[in-house]
């Protein structure tokens, strides 16, 4: 799927440069590919798919600085998804699921599924447990879609404090997901 690769890569590069709109589209389209990719691999546990889609999207965001523009996006995104999948399976200690071959790198963008089911685990609840300096900026971004600048104005925090809070908050969220279950 050459066109998907090129399109997603362009969107991500725009996102890395700070374009929130392009980044939103990138996450949405990648999320659809991830959903199809993970659904095939978690065929026996359809309830867990959406949780893992969310966890992988969060990882993609937190690790977006590790994408090297000279590298195929598919290779990078597949490696992130596979890492999260293996981590998930290990956590669940369901080694039987590992029978599925995980090595098709070109496969991620071959299918797409934009129909999000309900996640079993509520990220919002994990978000509530974060300290205020991390939770408040994230809440403003989640509910009103405010930018860093707007959130800073609204909360009276400095822009850099908002950035740090968001960065740490999302990392903490990922860590909590890892320890969950």
């Amino acid at each position: 799927m050459r066109t998907s690769e090129e399109r997603l890569r362009e969107l991500l590069l725009l996102g890395l440069a700070g374009d929130a709109q392009a980044y939103n589209v990138f996450l949405r389209e990648l999320g659809a590919h991830l959903r199809a990719f993970l659904r095939r691999r978690l065929a026996r546990h359809p309830d867990e798919v959406e949780d893992l889609v969310q966890e992988t999207l969060l990882a993609v965001h937190n690790q977006r600085h590790t994408y090297d523009p000279g590298q195929p996006l598919t290779a990078w995104a597949t490696a992130v998804a596979r890492y999260k999948l293996v981590d998930f399976l290990r956590r669940h200690a369901r080694t039987d699921l590992l029978n599925d071959p995980l090595d098709e790198e070109s496969e991620l963008l071959a299918a797409s599924d934009s129909e999000a089911r309900e996640a079993r685990r509520d990220l919002a609840r994990l978000l509530d447990d974060l300290p205020d300096g991390q939770r408040l900026p994230l809440l403003h971004m989640k509910i009103e879609g405010l930018s860093v600048q707007e959130t800073a104005q609204r909360t009276g925090m400095s822009a850099s404090a908002v950035k740090v809070g968001v960065h740490r908050g999302l990392k903490a969220l990922a860590a909590r997901l890892r320890e969950h279950k």
């Binding site: 996450l27 965001h61 195929p72 990078w76 994230l138 989640k142």
Partner: protein, 213 residues
């Protein structure tokens, strides 16, 4: 939270990624850790006698080159392992080839030496402390490189930890040459390699716990 809400939140939280950040972090980590290693070597262990005249010996530079080459190659491996989906390629050869060349050099040297001289070519005067001191000198670099790897996203945690540890061990060995009087390739082939492997082993053991993301 629905996935769409999560995506909206992440997009709103998106800030531009500075492509120069990894380089800056690397320089910062080296600027903090390397002086500690050097200072420890110079102030606590002491500079070897006649360092000035040793600088004229080819064997001195063979040793420097060996440590530098292994460190650079291991660092390249660590960088690649820290990027999801990035292949190692031939980078491990940069570690393996210098070691093999050194071993070959050592075998030739030992074969040509008269039998009574062989023990001292192998053991020098510091064989028993050498690997431990290299590991000790490497310690600040070890933490620096592991921290750098933690900022990225390695997917093979044990291997990534080992590569970061090996890069630290070899760079530590390079610093340790300021103190170490041993120049025989046969000595380096065993004790330096062991000294570099200690931090690599520590990295492999710590990797799965410390580098998760």
């Amino acid at each position: 939270m629905k996935t769409d809400e999560l995506i909206a939140m992440l997009a709103a939280a998106n800030t531009p990624v500075d492509p120069a950040a990894p380089r800056r972090r690397t320089l910062l980590a080296l600027a903090l850790a390397l002086p500690v290693s050097v200072l420890f070597t110079v102030a606590v262990l002491g500079v070897r006698p006649a360092l000035g005249s040793a600088l004229l010996l080819p064997a001195f530079w063979v040793r420097e080159l060996f440590c530098a080459a292994v460190s650079a190659a291991a660092a390249l491996c660590a960088v690649r392992l820290a990027h999801p989906g990035c292949r190692l390629g031939r980078a491990p050869l940069g570690v393996i080839v210098p070691v093999l060349v050194l071993w070959l050099l050592a075998v030739v040297l030992l074969a040509e030496a008269p039998p009574p001289a062989r023990a001292s070519l192998l053991l020098g005067q510091t064989a028993l402390v050498c690997p431990w001191l290299i590991a000790l000198v490497s310690a600040p670099l070890f933490f620096a490189f592991l921290w750098l790897t933690r900022q990225m996203a390695p997917t093979r945690l044990r291997l990534a930890g080992a590569a970061a540890g090996l890069a630290a061990g070899a760079l530590g060995a390079l610093v340790y040459t300021l103190h170490c009087p041993e120049l025989a390739p046969s000595f380096l082939a065993i004790w330096y390699v062991l000294g570099m492997l200690l931090p690599a082993l520590a990295g492999a053991l710590l990797g799965p716990r410390v580098l998760r993301w």
